[in-house]
């Protein structure tokens, strides 16, 4: 059955979209990843215009993050103060990202920007996951080396603030910078950016792991909501129908995924996910590197 997407102005198979949402939702349930970084490239592959894929991707992440943060709020594992500082950075970053996105749209280079970002970040995440997965498989259980707490330059920065839930007394500059870089990625790639923010919070800000996920989800909700709004206002590229179908598939998939995850060996699956991420990255990279069979493309509107 076909469904006509009013904003994207394309007709796509409904079950393909539901399946896509479902599979990515399942992966996010299995591994606790957001999945935005997989949904958007898959939308490119099925012929959704990149600008619509990115903007709608951001909208869909609002829903999945709300779903996730509620559980964390109940468990009180959200550092609201840290979340707010990250959020302020995120809004600034997202605003800049939208500006850059619109500038490159006018220049006809937005696809290049989005694809390059995906190739770089999917490549990094895929490799990291692969290494980690293989390491877990080979069971290098020598007892985890104690994490070296980074003292030094980060603590020499001014504008310090007390973050009670995280037990930190820290300058607001590093969280603002982390939030802003994630905001830029949200605007350009249509992702939540958890894959950058979570490691940065743990290794750079030294936040306790128990509040990291909840706090990052809290920030992601507002930043992706803002990004959705800005894309809707400046580009008219958020497709509500597309977002709702993906959402429906994603919600069911995530629940299935988290149940299957309990029964399966996560290490082997993690290697598979890493290979999937790397193959998506490879496909996008090849599109950039190999000579396309059609050198010309048509876009609506003059310049």
């Amino acid at each position: 059955m076909q469904i006509y997407l009013p904003v994207a102005e394309v007709s796509v198979n409904l079950f393909l979209l539901l399946g896509l949402g479902g599979v990515v939702g399942m992966l996010s349930g299995l591994f606790g990843v957001g999945g935005g970084f997989l949904i958007t490239p898959f939308l490119f592959f099925i012929g959704i215009p990149p600008a619509v894929a990115v903007a709608t991707g951001a909208n869909q992440i609002v829903a999945s993050s709300v779903s996730g943060v509620l559980a964390h709020l109940r468990r009180r594992s959200v550092d609201l103060r840290m979340g707010t500082v990250l959020l302020i950075g995120g809004l600034i970053g997202s605003g800049f990202g939208i500006w850059l996105f619109n500038l490159l749209t006018r220049l006809g280079q937005v696809e290049l920007l989005v694809t390059l970002c995906y190739v770089v970040f999917l490549g990094i995440i895929g490799l990291l996951m692969l290494v980690e997965g293989i390491r877990a498989l080979s069971r290098q259980r020598k007892g985890a080396p104690p994490k070296r707490r980074q003292r030094g330059w980060i603590h020499a920065l001014p504008f310090k603030m007390k973050f009670r839930a995280s037990g930190l007394y820290l300058s607001v500059i590093p969280p603002l910078v982390v939030g802003a870089s994630v905001g830029v990625l949200a605007a350009i790639m249509g992702v939540g950016g958890g894959f950058i923010m979570v490691p940065a919070m743990i290794y750079l800000l030294n936040m306790p792991t128990k509040v990291v996920i909840g706090t990052s989800l809290f920030q992601i909700i507002f930043v992706t909501a803002f990004t959705t709004l800005m894309h809707a206002i400046t580009n008219h590229t958020v497709d509500l129908f597309l977002a709702l179908v993906l959402l429906l598939g994603g919600v069911v998939g995530a629940q299935l995924g988290s149940r299957i995850g309990v029964k399966l060996k996560a290490e082997q699956l993690r290697v598979l996910l890493a290979l999937l991420v790397l193959s998506v990255c490879g496909k996008l990279a090849l599109d950039l590197l190999l000579q396309p069979s059609e050198l010309y493309s048509i876009a609506q509107g003059g310049h």
Partner: protein
Amino acid sequence: MTLLRALLITMLMLLPLRAAGEEVVAGLSQARVDITADFSGAEILIFGAVKRFAPAPTDERLGVIITVAGPPQTVTVRRKDQVAGIWVNAESRSIAEVPSFYAITSNGPLDTLLSPGADARYRISVPQFIPAGTDTTFGDALLRIRRDSGDYRVEPRGVRLDEDTLFRAAVALPANLTEGLYSTRIFLTRGGEVIDSHETMINVSMVGIERLTFNLAMQRPVIYGILCVVLAVVAGWGASAVFRMIRG
């Protein structure tokens, strides 16, 4: 002998008049196409008859050519070039008045039914209708891409003509249809010249919830954006509530 000559001259004089005595009467299966949520393309049936005030001339074949053209748009055609090892958009051209869709269907190859002069006057064939396609490489690329995607097509055997009088043809509109007025033209030709033509419009528009969503997104983007965010929040909250209930 003189009589025969006089008769021949009269016939020759009458010929164009008689040819002009053929008129096209046509109808469409539908004058509007609604794009609904499950829209997957539409087939327009175009049918009609040739009205005559005198017996049909038998020496030259009757041609029926039907064209359907989507709304004209301005497009930008870009060419990729290799820069530092990767293929990026480099040069571009803006081309105006390009139809989003163009189909020609006839009861024979166009060049047998239509003289180049008549084609130029009535702008029937693809290069005549979309002049940007003839001079530049960008124009050629535009025509090639649209032809390969099926947006521009030529079907020389698409029109069925019965008894030199009744004709019908089906034109399939693709699922990825652009909104607007689609101009449908029907030409009758004899000996390469157009003897009559008829033009009518097909109105293609989104209806119902598609229309509502599209209008909101384009005309009230702030409200639309807020609506998208609110729906996402409600959906996320609802999903977590439902699954918490299921788990007990």
